[in-house]
Amino acid sequence: MTKKDWTEQLRERLADYETDAPEGLWADIERRLTQQPSNVVAPQKQKSAVTPLWQRWISIAALVALVAGTGWWLWPKEQTQKEPLAKKEQMQSKPLAKQEPELRESPVRPVRTESSLTTENKYAPYGKKVRINQTDNNILSPSHAPADNQAETEWAEVPPQPQRSSQQQSPAPPASRSRAEVSPQRPSPLPSPTKNRKGVTIGLMANNGLMAYNHTNGVQMSPEMASRYDFSDYLPPGSTRATEEPIWLIGYEERQHHDHPISFGLTLSYPLTNRWTLSTGLVYTRLNSQFVNVLSSTPITTDQRLDYLGVPLNVQYHVLKGKGWKAYASAGAQLDWNIRAKRNTEGVNVNARNDHPQWSLAGGIGVEYDIIPLVGIYAEPGLRYYLKNDSKVDNFFKDQPFNWTLQIGIRLNLGKEGK
């Protein structure tokens, strides 16, 4: 014998109850269908959609400006000096050629460390590095012979000059060569701080969480209802049901599926020292989820899509460097803004709330390989933790706050000559 809760009786009484529809309702519906056949959004929602769109574009513009501004600010000043200096070098290259004997002893010929020489020889076949004394524009003056005062020096790249090809092919002067050969006092696998600090790096990255997440909930009978049911027919004779034991409703179920978060974006890195690099950027992330409510064995599916725009701030510590590759550890934080939220229940767009700003902390190790001197590819497996943001929007970040990630990307080193 089953005793029903009164709310259960209420549900049964009203489950299939129908009331009269007002006169003219179909005519109004038909008119709207005729006027705007593709309009599936109620007028009041269209109005509310305009403001967030503007806000989103303003937010995006502000973020782009932030990243671009940061990049411009971080851009090494030497870069702006490079062109005029190079032009000056070009303009004066003819006299140089005529003065070849002097040239070998002049500042035009680079005097470099072992690592920089190796880099130049291997990676810069179309350019030539010249050392320029910033305190004097007359770089060709014999009086400014190369000195060991490297603190005042900067490096600039000069386009190849036909007149100088013979010079490039000629054997290096004994002084330079001997310096290059006898420089075992620099065993560090990393370039010197002065040289490395020059290179700003921009990159494109893609990131994919390594775990999707599925979750299925049965629907429990409410405690009030359960307390009133007589289970004697379903239990072995003499046994009783523990009151805290949940009762699952047959034919009712809730399923959640969260896809892998997908991210891609633009990064900008600036070397702080020879080992430390600061990086930021703009990252787009998409979260797709599916919620299925099975009610009396009838599944109703809701698809949710959340789009985020985030700004990461990371530091990298370069651990090892080999021939054309380097390994590093990375740690940092990221703030993501939910710029768009969409929910669709069985083909119909329904109201969706935007998630609150989402902070996350990340750490990982990475390996970068230079496929050509200016361009490196990298892979960075790591861990990411999404902090609570007090939002009620269900997504991957909340159901799986701690997860593995794999970031891959390409980096363009704008200051590679500095290495």
Binding site: W6, T7, Q9, L10, R11, R13, L14, A15, D16, Y17, E18, T19, D20, A21, P22, L25, W26, D28, I29, E30, R32, L33, P37, S38, N39, V40, A42, Q44, K45, N217, V219, Q220, S222, E224, L249, Y252, E254, F291, N293, L295, S296, T298, P299, I300, T301, N344, T345, E346, G347, V348, N349, V350, N351, R353, K392, V393, D394
Partner: protein, 181 residues
């Protein structure tokens, strides 16, 4: 009687009259559902109108999974429309910090109350109570799912439901008492 599959095929095949048949088939059900969520009758009309416009313009995206799924889909759209309407037109107060009140209300005998009256009594609950009670009792959603839908915590949903149930029992008992049923 025309099956849901046949009705769907006719609509998707471009048969103009089939849309009307869908409306006729579900107008009474959708009106009853909307009345449970929305107190004002004119607003009920707007909700049902918006829901049918959505249904008929989005029907190509509906995945038919057997007899009964079309009815469930139509109902779910009306529910969503009604919730959106209440959100934008009524002030919903959803908190789990409710004052303690003794739950000494006698269980109402809902079988003696006319269905139209029951709907009226449900629709007269405060908006927060009304949403949670409707979703829990009639849509059979869990408190977790209600929380996701309304942007509240499952605890808030549970406490709102307990209070809504108590409030509705009081109204039903008053009705029975006043009408000497």
């Amino acid at each position: 009687m025309e099956t849901e599959q046949e009705l769907l095929d006719a609509i998707r095949g471009g048969e103009r009259e089939a849309k009307r048949r869908l409306y006729e088939r579900y107008k009474g059900l959708t009106m009853a559902i909307a009345q449970r969520y929305v107190a004002d009758y004119e607003d009920v009309r707007d909700v049902v109108q918006d829901a049918f416009v959505k249904i008929l313009t989005s029907i190509d995206g509906f995945r038919f999974q057997g007899e009964g799924t079309l009815k469930a889909w139509v109902s779910s759209i009306v529910v969503h429309e009604a919730i959106n309407h209440v959100r934008s037109h009524e002030r919903m107060r959803l908190t789990d910090r409710l004052p303690d009140e003794p739950d000494d209300e006698e269980e109402p005998d809902v079988g003696r109350v006319p269905q139209a009256v029951l709907i009226k009594l449900v629709s007269q609950l405060p908006p927060g109570y009304r949403m949670v009670l409707n979703l829990y009792v009639f849509e059979q959603l869990s408190h977790k799912e209600i929380a996701r839908l309304l942007g509240i915590t499952p605890g808030t949903s549970a406490s709102q439901y307990a209070r809504a149930k108590q409030e509705l029992a009081k109204h039903i008992n008053n009705y029975l008492k006043n009408n000497k049923l």
